[in-house]
């Protein structure tokens, strides 16, 4: 019987733009210091004695404008004479890597740190650099445009309406009003969303997230250690990820096969057979509002093309049968890369009963999701439990 891996501490910065007064390391320290204090754990000393023998960082060189961007934070995460690797995908994958490090028996406790300062770079220029350099880059295609293509295809294939998509923005920005770390919570209506500036058809201004800076830190530990550190460890019960093909034309963008595959593997690990029934809350990467609906379907929380009906029926509201993005989601402002761990942070708070006004009573099983790349080319799914 394998040991379990638990999350024993979480810290998030309040997400904000233009954190010009701090560099990457200082931004990361804002979340490292609290998790170390809360747990009473220490970094290793020069002889390698100490609690945090391994650190997994998560940042993108292209966003930090720095080769080996983990070097910019190494002093702040206790890297001296310790082990560190940098995962270069959405940070949910960094948690996956840390989980593997502990489950293998090679490490007892791992510190995971992610950061991005979106304000310091140009999103579009950076994202176009991810597209095939010979075939696609000169089109100026970035993830926003890829998302818009996907949104349009999804709406056409399944009859999802602009109103249903707008409801995601209304719900999530409203939820954000109850989340102290949310950057841009708002009380808005569907009409507000549809009247907001059309940026890339069919995506409106209020369907998109603001430019955001922030960091998150978490400590993971093997079960026996986790129980000593906190009386509310949150267990990672299932996790997987998956790649989709790169060329947008090779995909039916209304489908998300990679997400379906990743979710299936994660649920199998967790022993979840009926996700819609067994999951109490879901945190889904909604970089653009249509994505919450599409990813819900890929995650098996409802049938294909049905997420619009679910949001119409209020199922995914706080107080509904399956609340989605009680945190306010990415839409309220999470930086790219950091977003995945923000989904887990909210899951942890909910499962610990510490989500304040957003609390879903009795939440016991949570689903966290993170996506990277054009139209979610890389997907990662994690299930968590407090039992």
């Amino acid at each position: 019987m394998a040991d379990r891996v638990g999350i024993v501490a979480v810290a998030q910065t309040k997400f904000q733009p233009n954190r010009d007064e701090v560099n990457a390391g200082e931004l990361v320290w804002e979340t490292i210091e609290p998790v170390m204090k809360e747990t009473g754990l220490n970094f290793t000393d020069d002889d390698g004695n100490g609690d945090i023998e391994s650190i997994v960082t998560c940042s993108q060189d292209f966003w930090d404008g720095m080769t080996i961007s983990s070097m910019g934070v190494m002093s702040f995460v206790g890297g001296h004479h310790a082990t560190e690797d940098k995962i270069a995908e959405d940070s949910l994958n960094a948690l996956f890597a840390a989980y593997a490090q502990i489950l293998s028996g090679h490490f007892d406790m791992v510190l995971v740190s992610t950061h991005t300062k979106e304000s310091m770079g140009d999103r579009s220029i950076i994202e176009t650099a991810a597209m095939d350099p010979v075939m696609m880059r000169s089109l100026g295609l970035d993830f926003f445009i890829a998302g818009a293509l996907q949104a349009r295809r999804y709406m056409e294939k399944y009859g999802v309406t602009a109103e249903q998509i707008a409801k995601v923005a209304v719900k999530n920005r409203g939820n954000g009003m109850k989340n102290p770390v949310a950057q841009e919570p708002m009380n808005i209506t569907v009409e507000d969303v549809l009247k907001s500036k059309m940026l890339v058809d069919p995506i409106h201004q209020l369907d998109t997230k603001p430019v955001s800076d922030g960091s998150i830190a978490m400590i993971l530990a093997r079960e026996d250690k986790a129980r000593k550190i906190t009386d509310k460890p949150i267990w990672i019960t299932g996790v997987s990820n998956c790649y989709e093909t790169h060329y947008l034309g090779d995909r039916d963008l209304a489908e998300c096969d990679a997400l379906v595959a990743a979710a299936r593997r994660a649920y199998k690990m967790a022993g979840i057979t009926l996700p819609a029934k067994e999951i109490d809350i879901a945190e889904i990467a909604d970089e653009y509002s249509y994505q919450e609906l599409l990813w819900m379907e890929g995650l098996g929380l409802c049938g294909r093309g049905e997420a619009g009906r679910l949001i119409d029926a209020g199922v995914t509201q706080i107080g509904g049968k399956l609340p989605v993005n009680t945190s306010g989601g990415m839409l309220c402002g999470n930086p790219t890369v950091v977003a995945g761990m923000a989904r887990v942070a909210e899951s942890v708070l909910q499962l610990r009963g510490e989500a304040g006004e957003r609390q879903v009573p009795g939440a016991s099983v949570a689903l966290a999701h993170g996506a990277t790349g054009a139209a979610g080319q890389h997907q990662c799914v994690m299930t968590l439990s407090n039992k």
Binding site: D20, W29, F43, H80, S119, M120, G121, A129, P133
Partner: protein, 159 residues
């Protein structure tokens, strides 16, 4: 057809990628002192008591906050190693090739644990010696571009 060498097409892509980097709390203080007072300042770690260079909020060796014991750093030192490049190198921050005309030296800064790699004013290689004493030469006008900009090079001094 088989005898003709195949032509391989190259697709070139040149696009500047602009960034706005924050120096952060501690480095900003140093850069401010350089710009306004031609002074080098850094913090002495409250735990190990060594100079943290460049100044940083956390001492990486102690893995703790460096604290706020800001001290002035001498702008004089001794050359312990020197080298010079013989070819142009691309500087991504400047966006162009730089043919480095000046030698570089690792300079043991007086009364500190700081070893600073900087340019030397002396271009005549035959005059370079380890052990020679050098002092920073400040840019007189338009400082405020960071250390490598505000200090032009280190000049050999008689001492």
């Amino acid at each position: 057809m088989a005898d003709e060498p195949q032509e391989y097409i190259k697709v070139t892509y040149t696009k500047p990628r602009p960034y706005r980097w924050a120096a952060g709390e501690y480095l900003s203080r140093l850069y401010q002192e350089c710009r306004d007072n031609k002074k080098l300042m850094t913090v002495r770690c409250q735990h190990c008591k060594q100079h943290v260079w460049p100044p940083a909020k956390v001492c990486g060796r102690c893995k703790k906050l460096s604290g706020n014991d800001w001290v002035e750093v001498s702008d004089k030192g001794t050359v312990v190693q020197f080298t010079y490049t013989n070819f142009p190198m691309f500087d991504p921050h400047a966006g162009r090739y730089i043919t480095e005309e000046y030698p570089f030296a690792t300079i043991d800064i007086d009364d500190s644990e700081i070893y600073w790699v900087a340019r030397l004013e002396e271009k005549d290689k035959s005059k370079l010696k380890t052990g020679m004493r050098v002092q920073a030469v400040w840019r007189e006008e338009d400082r405020g571009g960071g250390l490598d900009h505000d200090i032009l090079y280190f000049r050999t001094i008689e001492e």
